[in-house]
């Protein structure tokens, strides 16, 4: 198992009596694209601001690449690139000047080296043609891309991206996904939040879900879906013939309820374990029924998240 690039332990953030992040413990392996999902007010931005050393938590430990960010914030900043939600840009600088400022601040050598690095990063986000434009003239999506380029300047080992795709057009989003994938392949750890859940599911190797300050689940997309999904699930069975016989047999099974039959397809709610689900399929076949489909209807991520948002209790 790869070493953790980000380790969060017992992290808590309070605003007065409001608990924004409640005792979150999380580990993000190096080289992964790790997604943080949650509705508005889940505590995503507070968590990211703590990770970015912009905010001191009530308590907790955070390590980036093994560096305690509260003990050595400047060391952590060298490793990390942070892109905030609704990333702002200064109105009085040109695109190239804005990037040069931060290349310089990160100690990227001579003017020539900085220029080369700025050009490379602009190319990465497809903004080369806007190099001499004033930042204030960029569209929302272009601004997002510019700030992403700024985040890439010092080639951080860990990237923390808060809603990086907001404001981007579909093509830019796809390019962003590809770029992040390539960064991860090169060994960069990407911790990214988004409220566009399908987008995260597509780009992330693992995700975690937060709601009202609590970490509800973490793991691969399938694991999280399983962890947060209901115990009861809907199964669909299709047989070539004798659907009525299949229905009769299923009705008497203990974990089956709400059975519906429509043109040789049966759908029903199943509340058994996965072993019992496997035994159910074996049983159907044992009844000499010719099963063509035996399928669990997965809840979509959106459905799970909506359900999670409505239910405050942590898993």
């Amino acid at each position: 198992m790869p070493a953790a690039a980000i380790e969060i332990r017992d992290l808590r953030v309070d605003y007065g009596n409001f608990v924004a992040v409640s005792d979150v413990t999380l580990s993000v392996p190096a080289g992964e694209i790790f997604g943080l999902v949650g509705p508005n007010g889940a505590g995503k931005t507070s968590t990211f601001r703590v990770l970015a050393t912009l905010m001191e938590p009530t308590y907790g430990e955070v390590r980036l690449g093994g560096i305690d960010i509260f003990e050595d914030p400047e060391g952590a900043r060298r490793l990390m690139g942070y892109m905030p939600d609704l990333a702002p840009v200064p109105s009085d600088l040109k695109v190239s000047e804005f990037l040069d400022l931060f290349a310089d601040a990160h100690g990227i050598g001579s003017a020539a080296a900085r220029r080369a690095r700025v050009d490379a990063c602009l190319e990465q986000v497809a903004l080369t043609d806007r190099k001499e434009a004033f930042c204030k003239t960029l569209s929302r999506g272009q601004t997002q891309r510019l700030v992403l380029a700024k985040t890439l300047l010092h080639a951080p080992k860990v990237m923390i991206l808060d809603e990086p795709a907001s404001g981007m057009d579909p093509l830019s989003r796809r390019n962003l996904r590809l770029a992040l994938r390539r960064l991860a392949d090169a060994g960069t750890t990407v911790f990214v939040s988004s409220h566009i859940l399908s987008e995260l599911a597509e780009m992330c190797s693992s995700i975690c879900v937060m709601n009202r300050g609590h970490l509800l689940a973490a793991g691969t997309v399938d694991e999280v879906r399983r962890l947060l999904g209901r115990a009861e699930r809907t199964l669909t069975v299709a047989v070539l013939e004798r659907a009525d016989a299949a229905a009769d047999w299923l009705r008497i099974q203990p974990a089956v309820s709400e059975l519906k039959l429509a043109s040789e397809r049966l759908s029903f709610t199943f509340s058994g374990t996965h072993e019992e689900q496997a035994a159910l399929l074996t049983g159907l076949i044992g009844q000499s029924l010719r099963v063509t489909v035996f399928e669990e209807q997965k809840s979509t991520f959106e459905e799970i998240l909506i359900e999670v948002s409505e239910n405050n209790s942590p898993a």
Partner: protein, 581 residues
């Protein structure tokens, strides 16, 4: 978007040394943004047109119309140019620093700077010299005229060098004021107005305060060094007359061009640099703390107490040596200006000494209030501190942490303030000018009562209820009764006693009442007798009020401790109680 470059493309980062301003990325950023040819040209025109006009009109008039020798005529434009340069750097520069800093925070780009691995000091200096870079260029644009006038006017380097050194240190001090204002105030316009307001106060109100015994404050400005240099910057004929006039009013004593600090003697410019340097250091520490940790208090508790004690030492060090020569008393200067008393006939009145003692107490009280605001934790900070303490198994919060209470630090400051106030009052009252007058033995305790009462009441209210209550209290108990009292007193004599009793409620009036109570001076219509009665009555009431506020504070603290829900103990530390770092 193409494939990202390899991380190895970036070299290891070595933090930039803070003193390398020219290599500071933040400074360079503002050089780019604020010195663009188009804008700079406009601003240079706006600078050079009036500067040229000032120079040529004054010089031409002096050379061709006035009956002056050439060197005298050439130095004529110096003072007007200095005034213009002051407006550029002190007013425009300070406003730009405050507004620019707030603007950065407002736009949200300040966070980007926090994330760069530059040292906090490099960031402070980058903004300090970067934000007003255009104003520095405008100032430099006027310098050729100044240099010409200094050269052709044969002004000695011993005159202009200290003047311009202090001019630049004043500019840095005011810009730092703007930077602090911009860091604290959220609204760009308010930050601009606040910083400009502070500079305005420094040149209008503060000089008046310094005339009433608080000499130290004048060293925040260019004024003392300017006054010292003034004669040498003026045409010789005018400066001769000026010197003669001053010598006359000072009864033959030499023009005071040195600062007395206890038994030490400094030149005005050295002492001004020293004073401003201490304040510059304090402001840099404030900003350094904010850059290191965005939620940090501007000053730590120890630094705040140290700064307060240092201010007291400076106030006393400047004031005490001036008592015996009579230079501390405002009536001397006022009498000179009004030509009502001068020379050997002049003698200070005990009334003005009482007023000066009251003013010293009021300024001390205001300093305590400002520092208390800086070091007192908000409810949010306290709750977080208590939760952290419990989580880490500490028995109590670290005493000097921002989240810890400031109560005992206010007590220390009040006691230091009372000591300083007593030394000032004793020095004044028991001087040779008021032979036979003795400062009462309980005077120090009375001053301590005033400062502790008002200081602790303010602290308790601030900590328990937040900033709104002390503000409202200050307006309705501090300011309004004093104003109504003044109006009543102005109306009719029968209202005088009522006015005194009403004004006595105000904590701002208490230092003056205390001074009059300890050193009774005859005030007609029984006002002199009423003031001590009102003072002791309101101080007694204040003791109970403050005791109530402190009790309330203790209750609030307990409630906050209870409301901070106990989280599970950090497994690595176990549940045993450990001492905080």
């Amino acid at each position: 978007m193409t494939a990202p470059a390899s991380p190895s493309a970036v070299e290891a980062v070595h933090p930039l040394p803070a003193w390398k301003i020219w290599a500071n990325p933040i400074w360079r950023r503002y050089v780019r943004a604020r010195l663009r040819a188009k804008h700079l040209t406009i601003w240079l025109i706006l600078t050079l047109v009036p500067a040229s006009f000032l120079f040529f009109i004054i010089r031409t008039t002096a050379v061709y119309r006035a009956d002056l020798v050439l060197s005298d005529a050439e130095r004529s434009p110096l003072v007007p140019l200095l005034v213009m340069q002051s407006i550029i750097l002190f007013v425009l520069g300070t406003g730009q620093v405050a507004g620019g800093m707030t603007g950065e925070a407002d736009e949200g780009v300040l966070d980007y700077q926090r994330l760069t691995p530059m040292t906090p000091l490099a960031k402070v200096l980058g903004y300090l010299f970067g934000l007003p870079v255009r104003e520095y260029v405008m100032f430099l644009a006027t310098l050729p005229y100044t240099i010409w006038a200094l050269w052709r006017g044969e002004v000695p380097a011993a005159t202009w060098l200290p003047l311009y050194l202090v001019f630049l240190s004043s500019a840095v001090l005011y810009h730092l004021t703007g930077l602090v204002a911009g860091t604290v105030v959220k609204n760009r316009r308010w930050a601009f107005l606040l910083s400009i307001g502070i500079v305005f106060l420094l040149y209008t109100v503060i000089p008046q305060v310094s005339r009433f015994g608080l000499v130290f404050f004048k060293y925040f400005t260019l004024s003392p060094v300017f006054q010292e240099s003034f004669a040498n910057l003026m045409p010789e004929t005018a400066s001769r007359a000026l010197r003669a006039a001053r010598a006359l009013t000072q009864n033959g004593a030499p023009l005071a061009t040195e600062v007395r600090f206890f038994g030490l003697h400094f030149s005005e410019w050295i002492f001004t640099l020293f004073t401003q340097g201490a304040l510059i250091l304090t402001f840099v520490v404030m900003l350094w703390r904010r850059w290191r940790r965005a939620e940090s208090h501007l000053l730590g508790k120890i630094w705040a107490v140290g700064l307060f004690a240092w201010t007291q030492i400076l106030l006393l060090g400047n004031a005490l040596p001036l008592i015996e020569p009579g230079l501390l008393f405002p009536s001397r200067e006022i009498g000179r200006r009004l030509r009502v008393s001068a020379g050997a006939n002049w003698k200070p009145q005990i009334e003005e000494a009482v007023g000066m003692i009251g003013l010293y107490g009021l300024v001390t009280l205001c300093l305590i209030a400002v520092l208390t605001m800086i070091i007192t934790a908000t409810e949010d900070e306290q709750l977080r501190g208590v939760r952290r303490m419990r989580k880490l198994g500490w028995a109590h919060l670290p005493r000097f942490s921002d989240a810890a209470g400031s109560f005992w630090f206010v007590v220390i400051m009040a006691l230091i303030g009372a000591l300083g106030w007593t030394l000032f009052a004793r020095g004044l009252v028991e001087s040779a000018w008021f032979a036979g007058t003795v400062f009462p033995a309980h005077g120090g305790w009375t001053f301590a009562l005033v400062l502790l009462g008002s200081g602790l009441g303010f602290q308790a209210m601030l900590e328990a209820r937040g900033g709104k209550w002390p503000f409202l209290f200050g307006i309705f108990v501090g300011v309004v009764p004093a104003m109504v009292g003044a109006v009543l007193a102005a109306a009719q004599n029968p209202f005088l006693k009522a006015a005194v009793w009403l004004a006595g409620v105000s904590p701002f009036a208490a230092p003056f009442f205390a001074a009059q109570t300890l050193i009774p001076v005859p005030i007609p219509l029984d006002v002199g007798k009423t003031i001590p009665q009102a003072f002791w009555f309101w101080q007694s009431v204040n003791v109970f009020v403050v005791a109530g506020l402190i009790l309330q504070l203790w209750r609030v603290r307990r409630q906050r401790a209870l409301s901070a829900v106990e989280p599970p103990t950090l497994s690595a530390l176990g549940s045993s109680v450990v001492a905080p770092p």
